[in-house]
């Protein structure tokens, strides 16, 4: 208890005004928190760049955007290929290491076979009217999905930032991804 007590009347009125201000401040921050909480968020880390593995992050990102989610896709290592305007149109698929493909590994390892398996897959994508990687990426960008390209791997792979699609965020790292995941309702590593 302080002995330095001003006159009782002053003290009460000051305290009341301060409390009122504090209440308003808290009400404001609660409203803000509630608003933030209502906005659903999804955070995907895309690490793969083969033709088959490029699909899941983009399908989920565009679908989540359709559900009204704020979506961030952080691309690192081979996942950068998806954001690379030229390379995204030529993603490859290999049967080597994939025992579910109708090509034995020993045959798949023959030079040129990756081109054959990629063509097979591209034909199926085309025959089934499945959206292309480029279409999915552009649709997602239009819907406000944020695509981030990991700065460390851009440098590691020796890419030029200009080579990525317009609208791709660069200059971000693991801390950005972690922060994003911490605030997300759904976090996925693909």
């Amino acid at each position: 208890m302080s002995t330095d007590t001003p006159s009782a009347g002053d003290d009460e009125s000051t305290t009341e005004a301060q409390l009122q201000a504090r209440i308003e401040e808290l009400e404001e921050s609660v409203a803000k928190l509630e608003a933030d909480d209502e906005q659903k968020k999804m955070s995907i880390i895309a690490t793969k760049g083969t033709l088959d593995m490029a699909y899941p992050p983009l399908i989920l990102a565009s679908t989540a955007a359709a559900f009204g989610y704020d979506v961030t896709v952080f691309h690192t290592f081979w996942g950068l290929e998806i954001l690379h305007e030229e390379r995204s149109k030529n993603l490859k698929l290999s049967s080597v290491g994939n025992p579910n493909m109708p090509v034995p590994n020993v045959v798949g390892a023959i030079p040129g076979m990756d081109r054959v398996t990629t063509k097979m897959m591209e034909k199926r994508i085309n025959d089934n009217d499945t959206a292309t990687i480029q279409e999915l990426l552009e649709t997602s960008l239009d819907m406000g999905v944020e695509f981030q390209a990991c700065q460390m791997t851009i440098e590691l792979m020796d890419y030029d930032e200009e080579e990525f699609y317009d609208g791709v965020t660069t200059g971000v790292g693991a801390a950005t991804a972690l922060e994003d995941m911490a605030g997300a309702d759904i976090q996925l590593l693909v």
Partner: protein, 81 residues
């Protein structure tokens, strides 16, 4: 069946597959006025479950009806607010 409500706009996504029917439905709903009804024509059998799931998880839309008409799956979505 579709006579039960006035269709504001029809979205034809026949031939397109997941995730496009849902993605395009969402974009088309954004463009129609409140209380408008969007008719979606799809040949993707997964669209029956997907559009239902999307409508349930999305505020401001109500799935009025889903009809299987031969090879075409018809969905009627209202923009509620």
């Amino acid at each position: 069946m579709s006579e039960a409500f006035d269709i504001t706009e029809t979205l034809d996504v026949q031939g397109e597959s997941c995730p496009m029917p849902v993605v395009k439905t969402k974009n088309a709903i954004d463009d129609i006025p409140e209380n408008g009804v969007l008719e979606v024509l799809s040949t993707d059998s997964g669209s029956m479950s997907d559009i239902d799931g999307w409508a349930q998880g999305t505020d401001g839309v109500e799935l009025l009806e889903q009809v299987e008409d031969g090879d075409v799956y018809k969905h009627y979505v209202e923009k509620t607010n």
